[in-house]
């Protein structure tokens, strides 16, 4: 294939991917009550509308609290799952992998109605623990995949050496395994945080009332009209994504480096 033609397609695709993300930012600083580009006058009124709204602030707090709790619970659980997968071989390994990745492989609506059905019986609909439980289930696959990848780069003989020198399994994990795969675990935790913060579909069914999450409120308001307050919130969320990408790249580098050192 000719190089020029390839390059044109590749950069056009990149522009297609980036422009929608970038264009939201200037729009959020517009003074108009409808969306125009480029904005004729600049202002912070949509940020004021967001930060001044009790409802938006409550939803934001719920979302961030849920995301933090999700990270705290899903990271150790996901690590335990990944550690098991790493130790198993053959059919049991595939089975455990399939179970732990199922929340990601299943269409999310099936997860959502299953949880909704369960929560109605347990009285967990619209409750904070219910939201966190759902987000933990959703985040486990992210932690498992990143940590399994990290463990596969880790030299198992190091752990075996510690064990044969008398370290208990827990001690060997904490002192030998964890420091080696630290960066993969942190990358998994980051994935868990972002996946919780961005989750929409499950939230629509089980995260309403006093525990409305940010994405649910955004979705509801978008269904009615294109409100510029959403542009301000979106800009803040894009900022968080940029920080996440940067952190993720740093962690990937560090994980690869420490694997190279130990190997």
């Amino acid at each position: 294939m000719s190089r020029a033609w390839l390059g044109i397609v590749a950069f056009a695709v990149l522009a297609f991917l980036l422009v929608p993300v970038v264009i939201v930012v200037p729009m959020s600083f517009s003074d108009a009550s409808y969306l125009e580009f480029p904005p004729r006058a600049w202002s912070l009124r949509w940020y004021q509308a967001y930060f001044g709204s009790i409802e938006w602030m409550a939803a934001t707090r719920t979302s961030f609290a849920a995301a933090f709790c999700t990270v705290l619970i899903a990271t150790p659980i996901g690590f335990a799952g990944a550690y098991c997968i790493d130790k198993l071989e053959g059919r049991p390994r595939h089975l455990l992998m399939a179970v732990l990745l199922s929340p990601q492989l299943m269409p999310v609506i099936l997860l959502a109605i299953g949880l909704f059905f369960l929560y109605i019986r347990l009285g967990l609909v619209d409750s904070f623990p219910g939201i966190v439980l759902a987000h933990v289930a959703l985040a486990i696959p992210f932690v498992v995949t990143t940590v399994v990848a990290g463990l596969s780069r880790f030299d198992r003989n190091l752990e075996n050496a510690a064990r044969s020198l008398g370290a208990s399994r827990l001690r060997a994990i904490v002192d030998v395994v964890l420091p080696q795969v630290k960066m993969s675990v942190m990358a998994g935790a980051l994935f868990a945080f972002v996946s919780s913060l961005d989750e929409v579909v499950i939230g629509l069914l089980v995260a309403g009332g006093p525990n409305t999450v940010l994405t649910r409120k955004m979705f509801m308001s978008l269904r009615d009209q294109v409100d510029p307050t959403i542009a301000a919130i979106s800009t803040l969320l894009i900022g968080i994504s940029l920080v996440a990408v940067a952190l993720f790249l740093v962690m990937e580098r560090a994980a690869a480096r420490s694997a190279a050192r130990s190997g």
Binding site: M106, L115, R163, V245
Partner: protein
Amino acid sequence: MTTGVAAGRAAAPAADRGRSLHPRHWPFAVPAVLVTLVVLLPFLWLGLLSFTDGGGLSLVHYQRMLENPSYAAILGDTVLLSLLVTAIVIVLGIPTTYFIVRQPPWLATLMLAGVAIPFWTSLLVRTYAWMVLLQRRGLINTWLVDLGIIDRPLRMANSFTGTTIGMVHIMLPFFIFPLYSAMRQIDPDMVKAARSLGASPSRAFWDVFLPLATPGIMAGGLLSFVLCLGFYVTPQLLGGGNVTTISMKIQQNVTMYSEWGASSALGVVLLVLVVLCFLAVQGLVPRRLRQ
């Protein structure tokens, strides 16, 4: 006693590589139990519910689905949308990824970061951006009219077209990333060998590189198709009521009508479609190339 302990310790590493962990290590079962209880069992329960009616076994929910033409339309719409989006993603994704793979490391990293930023951005934010761009007096229509390409604004938001554009945007990174790692593993010397034997660059691509990349393309394409089948947010917001996917219908049945039987039946149909796709991956992609 001492020898017993020593033997036990020496045996421990070997046992680690074996089949199972000691029951003492129950914390390791927590993730599997949690996922089973929260994700798998509730849906299994709903799945069983879809085969009952008023307590007895019955296929009435499936029968209704066959009799009601609106279900066929929803199923058709979902599959058509998923096929269309996947086809566009493949056609755009292959040249883009092929270009990135052949760039020097710094440029490849930069371009991959360009793919990663939208990938990490909330799906809701991206759908919102497309709502703004595609609306009647939105950016794209304004530019097209100003440039004299069209006379009056195109109807892109609230339509099948808008939904397709938004979904292609969301699915492209899911296709590009795995394909990139698959293409990285293809020995560049293969293409060089073909070129030195007199093949034109395009011939080397079509006859040498593309066949080697096919397993990666098929796996990525099927992944994209499966993910598209389950879409809810983008068709809901960009379709403006003119597109109904299976997921949307399931959600409607549950929240508006509390029709658990009908929703579950539709859910089972969706799950069967997804499982068939995964089986197709297993069948189509040779085992040694699947990694």
